[in-house]
Amino acid sequence: MRVEYINPFVESAFNVLKEVLDTELTRGELFLKSSSQPVLGVAAIIGFTGDVQGRILFDMDEKTALSIASAMNGETLSTMDDLAKATITELANMITARAVTKLSEQGFKFDITPPAIFTGKDMEITNTQIESLIVPIQMPLGKLEINVAVREQM
């Protein structure tokens, strides 16, 4: 997977998270995965189609999702209700949109699908055709994993 696809996502995730959460962030070690991996509990997913195909997954445990949603709403949310889900979805949307803008400035043309959010326990995701790169981001609120799988159009 080409690194020029990945950097915009990492950069934009850092910028958006800093902006909306006003928090300190550190990036963990990147790693590649081609087999199945567990999903932490709350995962927002957005697909790409066009010059670049694939998807990005924003993966976190429920506690982290609730802390992020609470911080973004300025009130304490204690369950993953519709508002909490809408908040996490919007966060995924903002990060992805910003990255896509950067990529389209570099000449890659593609569209993104509306976001979807998965919640539940003991889930895993398997990519059979594209390997995915995982970027862990550590914040005082918890850990967020950005999981990107992209390839050029075949």
Partner: protein, 146 residues
């Protein structure tokens, strides 16, 4: 007492959401994200604006506008929405009321659609993530331009 007039008290600043006659500006929020709709609502109500209604897609937005007309001073319109997107909804609102004041709410990366919306008659746009200052600044600019 000279001081009162020479040094206006900042605490007596009139909230941005009030018209000269003291009545609130009335806003319709069209957005499919509950989070964004709530965020805009909170920012605006904190400055005295009155939220007349919210709609979760373009179709509902157009209907609500017609229903509330002429009791709406401003519409905030998301661009990407199910059923009918914000640009089409904007077109329909402008067809119905050519003086409608609509501000587009956009994620970054939708420049083409924003441009199209501005050409169609949107008065301004705001790129997400939204912050209080940005939202109020754009809203007030649009409302002040008669």
């Amino acid at each position: 007492m000279k001081t009162k007039t020479d040094f206006p008290n900042i605490n007596e600043r009139k909230p941005e959401g009030l018209k000269d006659d003291g009545s609130p500006f009335r806003v319709l929020i069209v957005d499919d994200s509950m989070f964004v709709a709530k965020q805009i609502g909170q920012i605006l109500t904190s400055e005295g604006f009155e939220i007349m209604g919210t709609a979760g897609d373009g179709e509902e937005g157009v209907e609500k506008y017609k229903e509330l007309f002429p009791k709406v001073d401003l519409v905030t319109m998301d661009i990407t929405m199910p059923k009918m997107d914000g640009v089409v909804a904007l077109q329909k609102i402008i067809e119905f009321d050519k003086n409608a004041k609509v501000i587009m709410i956009s994620a970054l990366g939708k420049q083409d659609l924003v441009k199209k919306a501005l050409l169609t008659g949107a008065k301004n746009y705001i790129v997400k993530p939204l912050d209080r200052k940005k939202v109020l600044e754009r809203v007030v600019t649009v409302l002040k331009k008669q």
